[in-house]
Symmetry: C2
Subunit: 173 residues, 2 copies
């Protein structure tokens, strides 16, 4: 399937100089959405995965069906003050200011095998922060999966040596 053609590119969103890759046009089409989840599943087929860690909030859209397909539990990583029980938190630097991500302390058990999912890999700041959160657990990250990867931003380099999978790449702005 030509998945790229189901994505909508929106220049100037959320600010000038950025072209936003909109996945709402993909999930609006049942065959494209189904195909996407199948493709996200393939690298882990036959593996025992215990938890799928999904990054707020578009990561939930793809991570929830992937968790069900893998027979794994779903774990959510959220912005501060959204998760109600005891959390680990990690604060990271943005171009201007800071941001934080949180995960429930009881989200992942000892020795569990984990997959991380988000819709899009850009500079990799949020997913790298998620990897830092996961260091609080005695778990093994088997892979990190994205629907879209902006390869020219080299976010993948931050995530070595974990295997990174993406379905659609954009090589330039």
């Amino acid at each position: 399937m030509d998945l790229k053609s189901t994505l909508r590119q929106i220049p100037g969103f959320p600010k000038p100089g950025i072209t936003f890759i909109d996945i709402t046009t993909l999930i609006n089409k049942p065959d494209a959405f189904e195909w996407t989840v199948n493709e996200l599943y393939k690298p882990y087929e036959g593996q025992k995965i215990d938890k799928v860690v999904c990054i707020e909030s578009r990561g939930f859209i793809f991570g929830a069906p992937l968790a069900l397909r893998l027979g794994a539990g779903m774990v959510i990583v959220r912005k501060p003050n959204k998760l109600p029980a005891d959390t680990y938190s990690y604060t990271y630097e943005l171009e201007y200011g800071q941001d934080s991500v949180e995960i429930h302390k009881d989200a992942i058990g000892e020795g569990e095998r984990v997959v991380v999912v988000d819709d899009l890999l850009a500079t990799g700041g949020t997913v790298d922060a998620t990897m830092k959160l996961l260091k609080n657990f005695d778990c093994q990250v088997e892979g990190i999966s994205f629907v879209v990867e902006l390869t020219f931003l080299k976010g993948r380099d931050k995530l070595k040596p974990i295997p990174v999978h993406s379905l659609v790449t954009f090589d330039s702005e």
Copy 2:
């Protein structure tokens, strides 16, 4: 399945006097998550549903697998300035202040049959606002589904005459 036992109740979150119903402990258990999606699906089994409208952000967790199960497209309703293309917006009153929800103008086609999903029905403010958003489309809402319903808040009354389905009810605070 005793789904209620998989939910975690957190008194005093997000503020004193409120008991938060935490679904992260449900989705963490693959069998409970799978069972939940199956039960959400049942009222619509055999019906032709075109779109599943999912309310940010916990609605994405349950709505995405439901859309796939129904062979429907997924539509997301979000807080302001998150959706990148042209949107309809609806502003509603909260106890203190206002809030808004948005939907892409091209999210739903003429004559389409729609299901609305969120994790929890409390006073019904957000889902009622979502129903107002849907009045911009020539679509038919076949049902509104929740995992949890706080029946003592009577949110269901706001949604008449659309059929409302919920899997777990709490009758008092």
